[in-house]
């Protein structure tokens, strides 16, 4: 069993508390991603699991056993660092053999395991090179090899891909998830990159300011964000938020009064809705969908466009604020013409004043 159980864990550096009593269950055989903006405590949490930081309060259990006072090696964790932390004066072979040497394994066994791991990671030709003679991706693989050679129960990754270029990052991402499937290993992966999180994770833990905002599968956190922070953090470009002044319900549904006084008609929404969110890809130009907003010529202004080839994003300035939307490349938005946008009310996310998600009554 290598389930990680985090119960009421806090971390204080001197007087500043950076993690405020977190409860989390990291399931065996899953790849869990800790995601959050920098300074949210995700790395600190990882380092507490690893045993590199003391736990100020609370309990961490690995496989049911409390590990608060155990040395890192006794916890059965291996870690891949952001800068790889390869020993610069040792060859790849000796780097990978180091954990086994510390474990006092016989020399023949070390050689056998190094060879097997090198084969798995396609490092065989590089075994006698020094880390400085390797490319970024190769160093990354050596670091992973050094982590997995001890056959740990849990792999910890601290932003391992952020030093790589974009193309390599995609390849290493695939490689990590292939390894995870092959080894059926429990992995905890820290990143601030949501694409990495969405593509790699079985389960995403979104953190902010030392607290967990939401735990869920990638699609769960994308489709049903628990609060406004998660909704804005997941997805690129970010979700559009529209402040709501008032919600009036009648027989046909809810009428929302927006910040600028205009009205939006949508299906039944909770009465305490303070803002609504809509993803850029759910907005259409024209009146194709049920909920719609119209703007006279001069009321709307285009403040930018991003053409990514397969899709194009438009940035609009509207009376109630700015809006990002996905639109076909050939779509022309003319500021001297009236503009109508519409979306399916079912795609709207409703948030209360404190940012909490409001569930819609089942229609």
């Amino acid at each position: 069993m290598s389930e990680v159980l985090i119960e009421g864990v806090s971390k204080r550096f001197g007087r500043t508390e950076v993690i405020h009593g977190i409860d989390l269950r990291i399931k065996e055989g899953e790849l869990t991603v800790l995601l959050g903006p920098s300074g949210c405590g995700k790395s600190t949490l990882l380092r507490m699991i690893a045993g590199l930081e003391d736990i100020s309060e609370g309990v961490i259990r690995i496989g049911g056993e409390e590990v608060n006072d155990l040395e890192p090696v006794e916890r059965g964790c291996a870690m891949v660092f952001q800068n790889y932390a390869l020993y610069p004066h040792q060859t790849v072979r000796r780097n990978m053999a180091f954990p086994l040497k510390m474990a006092r394994l016989p020399r023949a066994e070390i050689a056998r395991r190094v060879a097997a791991t090198a084969k798995l990671l396609q490092l065989e030709e590089l075994l006698d090179r020094l880390p400085r003679d390797l490319s970024g991706g190769q160093r990354q693989r050596v670091a992973m090899g050094r982590a997995m050679i001890r056959e740990p129960k849990i792999f910890l990754f601290d932003e391992p891909l952020s030093n790589l270029d974009a193309e390599l990052r995609v390849r290493m991402r695939l490689e990590i998830s292939r390894l995870q499937r092959e080894l059926l290993a429990t992995m905890v992966f820290v990143t601030h990159d949501q694409v990495e999180a969405m593509t790699l994770a079985h389960r995403i833990v979104i953190m902010r300011a030392g607290l967990i905002e939401q735990v869920g599968t990638p699609l769960e956190v994308y489709r049903r964000p628990a609060n406004r922070f998660v909704a804005g953090f997941i997805g690129s470009p970010a979700m559009n938020f529209i402040d709501v002044r008032e919600v009036r319900a009648d027989a046909t549904g809810s009428q929302l009064t927006l910040g600028d006084g205009s009205t939006l008609v949508a299906g039944a929404l909770p009465a305490e809705t303070a803002s609504v969110g809509i993803r850029p890809e759910h907005i259409r130009i024209g009146l194709a969908e049920r909920a719609s907003l119209s703007f006279a010529a001069g009321q709307h202004r285009s403040i930018g466009a991003e053409h990514l080839g397969d899709r194009s994003y438009r940035y609009l300035s509207l009376p109630f604020g700015e809006l990002t939307m996905l639109a076909p490349e050939e779509q022309v938005i003319d500021e001297t013409e009236p503009l109508a946008i519409s979306f399916d009310p079912a795609r709207l996310h409703c948030f209360a004043h404190d940012g909490r998600r409001l569930e819609r009554a089942a229609a």
């Binding site: 590199l52 090696v73 660092f81 020993y87 004066h89």
Partner: protein, 330 residues
Amino acid sequence: MKRHQLVLVGLLGLYCLITLAPFYALVVRAFTPTVQSTEFHLWLPDRRPLSMNARLGDLATIYSIDARAFRQEMGIKGYVNPQLTLAQLAETYELEPERIRAWLEPRVQYNGVLSVMEAGFLRSLLATIFVTGVSVGVGGLLGIMTGSALAGFRRPWHLFTYNLYMLNMIIPPMMVILPQYLIMTKVLGLDDNYLSVILIHIKGGALSTMVFTSYIATIPKELRESVQMDGGRHYHYFFYVLLPLMGTPFAVFASIAMPWMWNDLLHPLVFLSPAKYTLPAFVAAIGGTYTTNYEAIFSGLMLSLIPILLIYLVFQKMFVRSAVAGAVKG
């Protein structure tokens, strides 16, 4: 080559010549007889033959020649009148003048080098190598240990300790020589012992602390954590990771501290007896009692410079190589 490159090479060449000129002067001086030492020589002066009219006493005084060794070599028993000239000596003791010349002439013509050798240069050289080697080695190791503890100044008292080491630099060695002498002899009982000079060299260690603390601070802390994750203790980190990475700072430390230790005159002079003098004290002592044998002094200086120059050149190469390796960290 472009013109400005030529000018640059020319200037650099000139600079090299200016730098090397004192060494050249030293070599010339090492072979200039003391009687000509007030004259200016650009090239080694001609060796003048030994005059048989020279008096034995004068030769012994000026050229530091051991009159007793001469008597034994010539088989003369008893007192020899130092006022006798060599010709008179040959006559009085029925010696072949050629035999006297054969023994005395090289000692006069190559007086400097030979008297340095006879006064125990090699023993003194070995003592210097021992003292400097142990001082640099142990001092470097202590510096690495201090540096690895202080690097990064993680606690307020780290900086305080570091500053204490730095403060050590402003204490003039002359001012504390007496208390140091008393501690060495009365408390530690290191009377006339090389260990006393070594201890003086490695004490404090402002330079080594500075060099190693700042270098170790540049080593990512992840290396330490990685060792920890791999099940290593702190001493594993120290011996397997930290020490092998200390080549560059050690070369920096050694190339600065070693010449200073090698050329230390004051401490050996105070703490050691003449039989144990290291090179600078040894050279200062071979000048003679009633006259000053400049040829011997300059020869001693030249000979004591050669080993440190060789060591320095080797270290310089290492220093440059490791500095370049660190610069293009990829």
